[in-house]
Amino acid sequence: MPAQRLKSFAVRCWILLASLQVTIVSLVLLMALVVLCTLAQTDMGTLGAVNAYMRSWVVMRQLQGIPFRLPLFPGGALVGLVLVANLSAALVRRFEFNPRKFGLWVVHAGLILLVAGEFVTGAFQVDTRMTIEQGQTVDYLESYRQMELVVSDLTDPARSEEYGIPDSRLRAGAAIPLPGTPITLKVKRFYVNAALSPRGPNDPPSLADRGVGAGVTLTEAPPAASDKEVNATSAFVEPVAGGRSYGTWLVSAVLGAPQTFMHEGRTYMLSMRPRRYHLPYSLTLKKFSHDIYPGTDIPKNFSSLVHLSNPARGEQRDVLIYMNQPLRYDGKAFYQASYGKGDTLSVLQVVANPGWLLPYLSCALITLGLLLHFGITLFNAIKRREKEAS
C-alpha cells in the first residue's frame, strides 16, 4: 500500500533526524568548518571567511581550471540548522515525564539555544565603528562595509538635513524619491567598487556632465574581498526636481571634493560615504591612553575615557572603555578596537546583537543541566546503596 510505505518512510526519516549519528556528524562537520574558516581568514579576511564558511548554506569555491564555482562543503548555516532540527527532534521523540531525565532535557535545551543564538547573531548582528578624536563629540556609528549615497540639504547655516540611500538601493535604472524633498535621484550606473583616474585625451567621455566626474575615467573593479581593502563605491546619478534635471554627477567614496547643486533656493550636496547610524546620545573622547610596559614598546593597555551624554534620559557620565571591558549601552557594546593620529584618535568597534545573551544563557543551561543530571544520578546511587545496605 503506498500510504503504508509513505508512513514507513516518514517514520524512518523521523528516526534518522532524531538519531545520535546525525548529531555526531553535525558536530564533526562544525569542527571541520571552524578549522577551514580559520585557515581561510588568511586570504579572505575575518568577515569574508565567516560569511563564506559559517554563515552560508553551502561553501562555494572556484577551483583552478573550472570557470564556475563548485559546492565543496556544507556551510555553517546548513549544519547548524540540521543540528537544531536533530536536537529538537531528539527532545520531542524521546520526551518522557521522568524527573530523573530532567538534567538531560536542560542540557539539550542549552545546546539548541547555543546554535539558535548563532542564527540570531548572523541575522541580526550589526557591526559598526565609532571614530573619535580627543575633544571630539560623535553621535553616529559607521558601517564597515555598507556605503550610502547622501544628499545633504546645506541651506540652514547651522544644521544640515541628510538623506542617506543605502548602497543596496543603488541599482542601475532605479529612481529613488527622497521623502520630504522635491528631489528624485535617478541612478544611471552603480559600481560596488571602481578605480578612478583623471580622464585622458583618448578616454571615452564620462557619463557625468556635471561636477568633477566629467573629468574622471571610471573602471569597474571587483568588490573588495578582504578586510584590508575598502570598496571605492561609485555611482552616476541624475537629480531631478520640479521637472528639471540637474545633470549627471559622479558620486564616489574616493572623491573628496564637495559637489553641490541648487534647487528653489536650497543647496544640496552629493556624497558617498560609509553608511551612518545616528544615535540619540553622544560620546566625547576625553582621553585616549596607550600604555606600554616600562622600557619596551610592548603594548600593555589601550583605553578610552569617554563622556556619555544622553539628554533624553538626563544621563551624563564618564566611562572608561578598555581592552575586553566594553561599554554596554542601548543594546550595543562599544569595544576598544583601534587607535591612530599619534594616540589622539580612538576607534571603537560597536556591536549591536540582540542575541548577545543567548550564548551565556545556553552555557548556563548546559552547566545547570549537567549539575542537575550529576546530582540526580548521585542522589539515586546513594539511595540505592542505602537500600541495598538495609
Binding site: L47, A90, R93, E96, E133, E161, G342
Partner: protein, 233 residues
C-alpha cells in the same frame, strides 16, 4: 544522548517551533525592509576636527592585538578619511601666495575649511553667502568651471564661444577677474555671481556669491568692489 529513553512518544512537532519560525521570519522580513529605507537625519554642521594634542605618527588607525569580538579591519576608514587614491584638499596658499582683500563694509568673514579658503557673508539678512576657493593650476579651465556653476543651479551648459558675451572683467592688482552672473529658473530663483582669477604663481581663485536672487542682487555692487581690492603682497 543515546541513553535518553527512546520511546516514540510524540512524533509531531508541537505548535511552538512553528510559531517561533513564523516570528523569526517576520522579524527577518521587517529588518530586511528597514535596512533598505532612505534614512533622514538632522545634524549639526560638523566643526573642523580638533588639532591632535601630540605629534601625529600615523594618520590611519592601527589595529590592536586581537580581542573579542574581533579587531577592526586594518583597512577600515575613520569618518572623513578617504580610501587609497583619494585626493586630499590642496594646500592653502600662505605668505606671498595668499590673496588679500578689503572686506566690504558690514560684511563678515570666517576662515574656511577643507577646500574652502574663506566664507564671507553680506549684511542685510536673506540667503546670500560668498565663498573663496583656491585650486592649483587651471582647475579645468574657465569654460568647465562656468558650466559647473551653471549646472549647480540647473542651467544647461554653454559653448565656449558664448562665454565672451556673458563675461565681465573686473580689474584688480592681482589680475583681471572674469565674472559671470546667472539666475536659475523656478519659483524661488537662485542667483550666482561668480568670478575666477588666475594668479601669477599658478593658482586659480574662485569667488562665488550665491543665494536667493534678491539678497544677492543687493550684495552684488559690494561684491564687485570687493573683487577690485584683490591683491598679492
Amino acid at each position: 544522548m543515546d541513553r535518553i529513553n527512546p520511546t516514540f512518544a510524540n512524533p509531531r512537532p508541537g505548535p511552538i517551533p512553528l510559531a517561533a519560525l513564523a516570528v523569526a521570519a517576520g522579524m527577518l522580513l521587517g529588518l530586511g525592509c528597514d535596512r533598505d529605507q532612505v534614512s533622514h537625519a538632522t545634524v549639526a554642521k560638523e566643526a573642523p576636527a580638533p588639532a591632535p594634542m601630540a605629534p601625529a605618527h600615523a594618520s590611519s588607525p592601527q589595529t590592536m592585538p586581537p580581542m573579542p569580538p574581533g579587531a577592526m579591519p586594518p583597512g577600515a576608514m575613520p569618518p572623513g578619511a578617504m580610501p587609497p587614491g583619494a585626493m586630499p584638499p590642496p594646500p592653502r596658499p600662505t605668505g606671498k601666495g595668499a590673496l588679500k582683500w578689503a572686506l566690504p563694509k558690514g560684511w563678515t568673514e570666517a576662515p574656511g575649511s577643507g577646500m574652502r579658503y574663506a566664507t564671507l557673508t553680506p549684511p542685510g539678512g536673506g540667503k546670500a553667502e560668498m565663498s573663496v576657493v583656491v585650486l592649483p593650476g587651471q582647475a579645468g579651465g574657465e569654460a568647465a568651471n562656468v558650466n559647473r556653476w551653471r549646472g549647480q543651479i540647473g542651467l544647461p551648459p554653454l559653448e565656449e564661444d558664448a562665454l565672451a558675451a556673458l563675461r565681465k572683467a573686473v580689474p584688480s592688482k592681482a589680475g583681471p577677474v572674469a565674472v559671470y552672473d546667472f539666475t536659475s529658473l523656478g519659483d524661488t530663483r537662485t542667483r550666482m555671481v561668480a568670478g575666477l582669477l588666475a594668479t601669477a604663481d599658478g593658482n586659480t581663485w574662485f569667488f562665488k556669491l550665491v543665494g536667493d536672487a534678491d539678497p544677492v542682487g543687493k550684495a552684488k555692487p559690494s561684491f564687485m568692489k570687493y573683487l577690485g581690492t584683490l591683491h598679492l603682497d
